[in-house]
């Protein structure tokens, strides 16, 4: 099972599956808003704008047919959040699922946290494959038997039944946030997690819903002095006292909870100095970090801003160790991207299992694989036209200007409504999940 090798260009990616409707008329509720593999990669969860969660399960591989890579099939689906209206604040609360994060598995059941703008919920997903039969006081269909007619006693037994997967909300963590939640992150201690909104970060205990600790508060005394907001936050994968949060100004702060109860003062500040001659109206907007992710080994973190992906060594604050351009050709389109609001799109990014390759999305349903170990990159496309089973994806090229070569697409022909904001990489294997607006594509490494 590969994944230990290179991921970007040695690997040939092929189509495996696509989920979702084909029609172009996309209902708002069907817009996918988050994608996440669980810790073993066996389960893949998606959340959408309609507040629904769909979980797919990887089939156990068919040993007699090794060419048939295991597929992901629907395992469970449920309505996680409902739309709400806060009459006191005259505020409409969307049911859109902003983030899903899985808890490491401790017993037979699976647990995940899902959040919308205001409320985080802990869901338990459990299997039931047996049911009790032979009650004395009830018929099989549930009707009560007349006790007077019972003459003998029997012992009820469990008999197998068709597998039923049930999702039930176990905790509701409400009223913790005044502003809109953008991130949740489960701590490596498996007891706590953090939730971040635009101005504050709270720490919760998974068992306790009526209290949470505020660990970061950047709200200024006078809101007119507001200059930056929190855009993403994540706990360190191994150090339970460490977390980072990114800002709309392109900075990342690392905080150590051992230093103080309120981590307003950072332990480290990661910021790349900007050349003042490059400052423009767009500078701050495009430097806003839309996602931050620690590497699996905990030594690096990756940030995504509008045009680039940066890898930071946690031991070096003054600049990233690697910078990759995602779609540099958009620099000459910033005016129209500002006008159509695309400049505010929040792209996510992810690491492969051994931290050698990173992936992020772009427009026109393109996504980028950036191979750190081989310093090479490739642009691929999630498209219904490349949907034959095991069809190898062809690299795509964008022509920034001048003569367009055959097979290249010009910047002006890119469809900016087709954005890939959410992607996920299986924790061990070379299997990736790529979400277009309303479809989920699963690609796998080509197996010879």
């Amino acid at each position: 099972m590969a994944g230990a090798g290179g991921g970007g260009n040695d690997v040939q990616w092929c189509f495996s599956q696509v989920k979702g409707a084909i029609d172009d008329d996309v209902a708002e509720a069907d817009i996918i808003s988050t994608v996440e593999f669980n810790h073993s990669g066996e389960l893949l969860a998606t959340g959408d704008k309609g507040g629904r969660v769909v979980i797919f399960q990887q089939e156990t591989e068919n040993k007699s047919q090794p060419q048939c890579r295991s597929e992901y099939n629907v395992y469970s689906t449920f309505q996680s959040h409902e739309p709400e209206f806060d009459y006191l604040k005259s505020l409409e609360i969307e049911e859109k699922i902003n983030k899903i994060r899985w808890l490491p598995q401790k017993n037979a059941a699976q647990f995940l946290l899902s959040t919308n703008d205001k409320t985080i919920k802990l869901w338990k997903i459990s299997e039931r494959d047996k049911r009790p039969e032979g009650y004395n006081l009830k018929e099989e269909d549930g009707r009560y038997r007349d006790a007077a007619t019972i003459t003998t006693l029997r012992v009820p037994v469990f008999r197998p039944m068709d597998l039923m997967v049930e999702a039930s909300p176990r905790r509701v963590f409400a009223n913790g946030h005044t502003y809109h939640i953008n991130s949740i992150s489960v701590n490596s201690d498996n007891e706590t997690y953090l939730s971040a909104d635009d101005l504050r970060i709270n720490m919760w205990h998974l068992e306790i819903t009526d209290r949470s600790f505020n660990i970061v508060d950047i709200k200024p005394a006078n809101m007119e002095e507001l200059t930056e907001v929190i855009t993403a936050a994540e706990f360190h994968p191994h150090q339970c006292n460490t977390f980072v949060y990114s800002s709309s100004k392109g900075t990342i702060r690392l905080c150590d909870m051992r230093a103080s109860a309120l981590c307003d003062k950072h332990s480290k500040l990661f910021e790349e100095p900007e050349d003042p001659s490059n400052r423009s109206f767009f500078s701050e907007i495009i430097s806003s970090i839309s996602d931050v992710k620690f590497s699996h080994n905990g030594r690096y973190m990756m940030t995504r801003d509008y045009l680039s992906v940066k890898i930071w060594d946690l031991n070096m604050e003054n600049r990233p160790v690697e910078t990759y351009q995602v779609h540099e050709y958009l620099r000459s389109k910033l005016c129209s991207l500002y006008e159509n609001d695309c400049i505010f799109d929040k792209f996510e990014c992810c690491w492969n299992g051994n931290d050698s390759v990173v992936m992020t999305g772009s427009y026109n349903n393109f996504f980028r694989m950036l191979d750190r170990s081989q310093q090479r990159d490739v642009t691929l496309e999630a498209s219904r036209e490349s949907c034959k089973p095991r069809q190898v994806l062809k690299p795509r090229r964008v022509c920034a200007g001048g003569k367009r070569k055959k097979d290249e697409i010009s910047v002006d022909s890119l469809d900016f409504n087709k954005k890939i904001l959410h992607t996920a990489w299986h924790p061990q294997e070379n299997i990736i999940a790529v979400a277009t607006t309303n479809n989920l594509y699963i690609f796998q490494e080509k197996v010879n």
Partner: protein, 117 residues
């Protein structure tokens, strides 16, 4: 497999390459900035500042406000109250008195996701 017009920067050449690419790139960005300023001359001097952030923080704010409601009622007491029977029943703005009934009702999605279909 060559990359498409992208710069992937190696560690040792990072600083030099950054400055070079920024020099050549500042021209397209400046052009874009000039285009934007020509279209919207009143765009604030504080780019990416409070305006965007305030808009972001106020996402979800709806128009029904009991203060507005009462203010509009008070203003209208001498005139005939405009009823919400016009062609644009759904628009709640201006001097038309908004009522809770005018707000589009948000109903949760009872349909199963098409991803599960």
């Amino acid at each position: 497999m060559s990359s498409d017009n992208q710069d992937t920067e190696t560690h040792s050449e990072q600083m030099d390459e950054t400055q070079e690419s920024q020099d050549t790139n500042s021209n397209p960005v400046r052009t874009e900035e000039a285009k934007l300023k020509a279209k919207y001359p009143s765009l604030g001097q504080k780019p990416g500042g409070s305006d965007f952030l305030m808009k972001r923080l106020q996402k979800g704010q709806k128009y029904f406000d009991s203060g507005d409601y009462n203010m509009a009622k008070a203003k209208m007491k001498n005139k005939q109250l405009p009823a919400a029977t016009g062609p644009d029943k759904n628009i709640v703005t201006g001097d038309h008195i908004p009522t809770p009934q005018d707000l589009p009702q948000r109903k949760s999605s009872l349909v199963t996701s098409k991803l599960a279909g």
